[in-house]
């Protein structure tokens, strides 16, 4: 612990106040022969693209707990500020809480500066927090928005590294989505073209990755306007059952019928009044 450091170090000590308690709880539960529930992860395909007038962010809507789908329609595109949104992959709680924290701090910052927040500011705040926790906060993010310097798109990794690129993908379905982008991305696309590209990239993740599924959410951010399209494409609507396991009366023929009444004697009878006051 470097307490005698200069404050201008830029390095903060790592805080793990709950670590001791959590390891103790885990040990106690293990003694009973059970295990703690696995963290809910968003298996996920998320991506983003910069086009002529702004950015388009896309995400699938499946949240998994191990090999079970915990939520078939969760929202992975989080609000950061009126002009900035962030898709989150990795541990669902981590992405939710991290984006909320930075959104809150950014609003305060924006009130203090009296300006619309910049995407680079959100990026700095997120990367510095994630680096401080040395990768233990499992949040892999795609941050996009439009500010006074134009449209920007960043990918942010759990250990705190970031990349500023014209197109990015994250999550277990990122390879499928990136394949689509590498094939069809062009700089300065029109809005419809960009939306179709992002939709197709997420669809590639949904249909080729087991950790991603359900619908496609899109968020189109331009200067002065945000279109939050949830859902943009219901790629996996629940089908209508064509058969039924209920059989009609008379399907099985009755051969014989025998009725046996049970011999019951009244042993005791008592009345208990209910307090209805």
């Amino acid at each position: 612990n470097n307490e005698n450091d200069d404050d201008h170090d830029g390095f903060q000590p790592v805080l793990f106040v709950s670590l001791c308690r959590n390891t103790l709880l885990e040990a106690n539960v293990a003694k009973l022969g059970c295990s703690l529930p696995p963290a809910r992860k968003t298996g996920t395909t998320i991506c983003g693209v910069v086009y002529k007038d702004g950015v388009v962010l896309g995400a699938d809507t499946r949240a998994t707990e191990g090999m079970v789908v915990a939520d078939k329609n969760c929202s992975k595109i989080h609000y950061i500020s009126p002009n900035i949104y962030c898709c989150g992959a990795g541990t669902a709680a981590d992405t939710e809480m991290t984006t909320q924290l930075i959104s809150s701090n950014l609003e305060l910052h924006s009130l203090s500066t009296n300006r619309l927040p910049r995407v680079a500011t959100a990026n700095r705040m997120l990367k510095q927090m994630l680096f401080r926790y040395q990768g233990y906060i499992g949040a892999a993010l795609v941050l996009g928005g439009v500010d006074c310097n134009g449209p920007h798109l960043y990918s942010i990794y759990p250990h705190g590294s970031t990349d500023k690129l014209p197109y990015v993908t994250m999550g277990s379905g990122s390879l499928a989505a990136m394949a689509v982008f590498e094939d069809r991305f062009k700089p300065n696309m029109e809005e419809e073209e960009a939306k179709q590209l992002v939709r197709d990239a997420i669809a590639a993740g949904i249909f080729n990755d087991l950790g991603s599924g359900s619908n496609i959410d899109l968020c189109v951010i331009t200067k002065g306007k945000v279109d939050y399209l949830r859902p943009h494409d219901e790629a996996n609507k629940k089908g209508v059952r064509t058969g039924d396991y209920k059989y009609k009366h008379g399907t099985t023929g009755v051969l014989t019928k025998q009725v046996t009444t049970l011999q019951l004697e009244v042993m005791d009878e008592s009345v208990q009044t209910m307090d209805t006051s």
């Binding site: 201008h8 990367k127 990794y157 250990h159 590294s161 990349d163 690129l165 990122s174």
Partner: protein, 212 residues
């Protein structure tokens, strides 16, 4: 197969810097990997720390980005207090102090290069562990192992800026050819008193050599 977030994002790289009379030439490949997946094929590993001072980053992407941001802040502050452009040696020492103090926690191999009025073009290397040493030519990253022989045989002192640029591009191309963790494009920068010239050599324009 999905990129595991447990495999940290690394710039396992080839980076290089060469001094010449009047400035420095720095160069790097552009590949960032998460395990076997290339997370960014156009990374810029040549990061400005100040107007005439750059650093070449290799190792963990998160660690080197955080260190570079911290040192940029410290150097900017120092420069304002001094009311003059900072020395390359100052920047290098700031990197060394951080890399040495946190040597157990960090995975960062950095080459600091730039121009200042006192000593002209300088290259300082701060490898993992936190050593600091000035060298006329320095290479780093996983791809550097493959080009020590080339550097030792082809380097001569007193090269011009253009010769240094050609030398760096050749060395990086050779390393990228042999090292799986290096690739993409070659990013070059020449830093002199008058300013900064950045260039990119795309994959198909790279110098070619004999390939078995």
């Amino acid at each position: 197969w999905a990129p595991l977030s447990s495999s940290p994002h690394t710039n396992s790289t080839t980076i290089m810097a060469v001094e010449f009379d009047g400035g420095v030439v720095i160069g790097a490949d552009s590949r960032t990997t998460t395990g076997a997946y290339i997370a960014n094929r156009v990374t810029d590993k040549l990061t400005p720390i100040h107007d005439r001072i750059f650093c070449c980053r290799s190792g963990s992407a998160a660690d080197t980005q955080a260190i570079a941001d911290a040192v940029s802040y410290q150097l900017g502050f120092h420069s304002i207090e001094l009311d003059e452009p900072p020395l390359v040696q100052t920047a290098a020492n700031l990197f060394k102090q951080m890399c040495y103090r946190y040597r157990e926690e960090l995975m960062a191999g950095i080459i600091v290069a730039g121009w200042d009025k006192r000593r002209g073009g300088q290259v300082y290397t701060v490898p993992m562990g936190g050593m600091l040493v000035r060298q006329p030519v320095s290479v780093g990253g996983s791809g550097s192992s493959y080009i020590y022989g080339f550097i030792d045989s082809k380097y001569k002192s007193g090269m011009t800026k253009e010769e240094c640029l050609r030398f760096t591009a050749d060395a990086l191309a050779l390393a990228m050819e042999r090292d799986g963790s290096s690739g993409g494009v070659v990013r070059l920068a020449a830093i002199t008193e008058s300013g900064l010239e950045r260039s990119v050599i795309l994959g198909n324009q790279l110098p070619t050599f004999f390939s078995a």
